[in-house]
Amino acid sequence: MLLLTLSRTFKSGFQHFRRNGWLSFAVISIISLTLLIISTLIVLSIAANLVIRSVQDKVDISVYFKSDTEESKIMEFRSTVLQYKEVKSADYVSKNRALDEFKAKNADNPTIMQSIDAIGDNPLNASVNIKAVTPDQYDTIATAVQNSAYKDYINRINYAKNKIVIERLNNVLSTTRNVGAMLATLFSLIAVLITFNAIRITIYAHRQEIEIMRLVGASNPYIRMPFIFEGIIYGTISAVVVMLFLFPLIKFVAPYLSGAVSVQEVQANFMHNLWLIFLIQLFTGVALGTISSLIAIRRYLKV
């Protein structure tokens, strides 16, 4: 019996959808726009995160040791630093490695190569490159290192040089997050309200039908079901429509990020999240359709 009711109400919901072509079209456009706004915000936040992460990866502070510092002292320092909860990684760069890297970087500059050969000795200092868990922790780390037991071995910390970049990054990060969250909330709210009203209009168009259903003895759940199915159909189609729009959008957005991250990386990241984005849309679309229907229909079901 339940199955019969389900199949009948589904059929009826599908009929509403099919026989009210223009209304369905209008509602789907509105839900699609809503989802498009929400998913654009998701895509932008994925992209922003990629950019931010790639910038974050490039930032670090380097602690240079005096030439006569023993390697074991530096390793000791490294393991101490690694115990700080703010520190993500600490790489030891020995004098020789520093020289090799320097040579590799300047391989095509004969003047520099010649002058290094002329010096004979390795003029570079050993260092430890420290990366923080979050960029706002560099200040704390730098201060801790400066005041540590190893301060006498330290030649210099290049934090000051990076300080401005790091602070600017911190500002950009928090602004992006705040503005993004505000915009996302605002747009989602507007979109949800518009969808709700659109569905109210479709149900208003069916008020006579609801009246008749009640007169011939349809139970309230029986009256509600077609509208819920209709809402589900709206949500599903909208989710599919938006996915079709998102592909070109990603293609359009990706090149603008190419300074910071590669186009392939953005696309790969999007493809990786494709199902997740689709599921979020499907869920949001269906929830929007169903909940709006349920609220809108309530007033017509009162005895």
Partner: protein
């Protein structure tokens, strides 16, 4: 079959209106009763109380011995399936075919598809529309639309049909056709309660007439005439 016991209905609002004032009457099984009166006399209110669209302010209403004046929202649909209703404006679903409109009344009460496919053409045959199963309401005349509405009211074989001004929107010939149909249904054993303005019809039917005026029953004759 139907009993009204001291039924009073007051519409509250800006001004309290007494729509029905201490009404009491009994309608027996298989009767054909015409309910007449001016606009505002209380005909529609009386019918609304009977199909439980409104609740009485005081008094009791019985249908087959069961008090229906205080049905819960859960009981209401089951009660409605035991009566058939016909209205002046037909109340057909514009986007459903005639077949679907009639089938609808059976679908909501969980009849099987097999029963629906058998019963609906039969009933549309009785009202003379078997050849228009797949038409939409807008494609047929007012008289035909009212026949479909009657078919819908009749299809689940209710013991009572309530008709509120069923001929109000129809020309005299179609009107008489509808009344003849209701008489025929009545002969097959269904109780009919007909609210109408139409003097000619009441006089031609020659059945019981209850006359309402300002919320009160002023006349109740078993072979009545329209006389106000």
């Amino acid at each position: 079959m139907i009993e009204f016991r001291n039924v009073k209905k007051i519409y509250t609002g800006g001004i309290n209106t007494i729509a029905l004032d201490e009404i009491s009457f009994v309608i027996e099984k298989e009767e054909f009763v015409s309910l007449v009166g001016h606009s505002g006399a209380g005909k529609s209110t009386l019918l609304k109380l009977l199909y439980a669209e409104e609740k009485p302010t005081s008094g009791e209403i019985f249908f087959n011995g069961e008090d229906i004046s205080n049905l819960t929202p859960k009981q209401l649909p089951f009660y409605r399936r035991r009566i058939g209703t016909v209205f002046q404006d037909f109340k057909l679903l514009p986007r459903k075919t005639l077949f679907e409109n009639v089938a609808f009344a059976l679908e909501v009460s969980d009849h099987s598809d097999k029963e629906i496919n058998e019963l609906v053409p039969q009933i549309l045959e009785i009202v003379g529309l078997a050849h228009k199963l797949d038409s939409y309401p807008r494609e047929i005349s007012g008289g035909e639309q009212q026949r479909v509405a009657i078919a819908r009211a009749l299809v689940h074989r209710p013991p009572l049909i309530i008709a509120d001004e069923p001929t109000g929107n129809l020309d005299p010939i179609s009107s008489w056709g509808i009344i003849q149909l209701l008489l025929k249904i009545n002969k097959l054993g269904t109780t009919i309660l007909l609210a109408t303005h139409n003097k000619d019809i009441v006089n031609r039917v020659k059945k019981r007439v209850i006359t309402l005026d300002q919320g009160k029953i002023i006349r109740d004759h078993s072979k009545g005439r329209y006389a106000i």
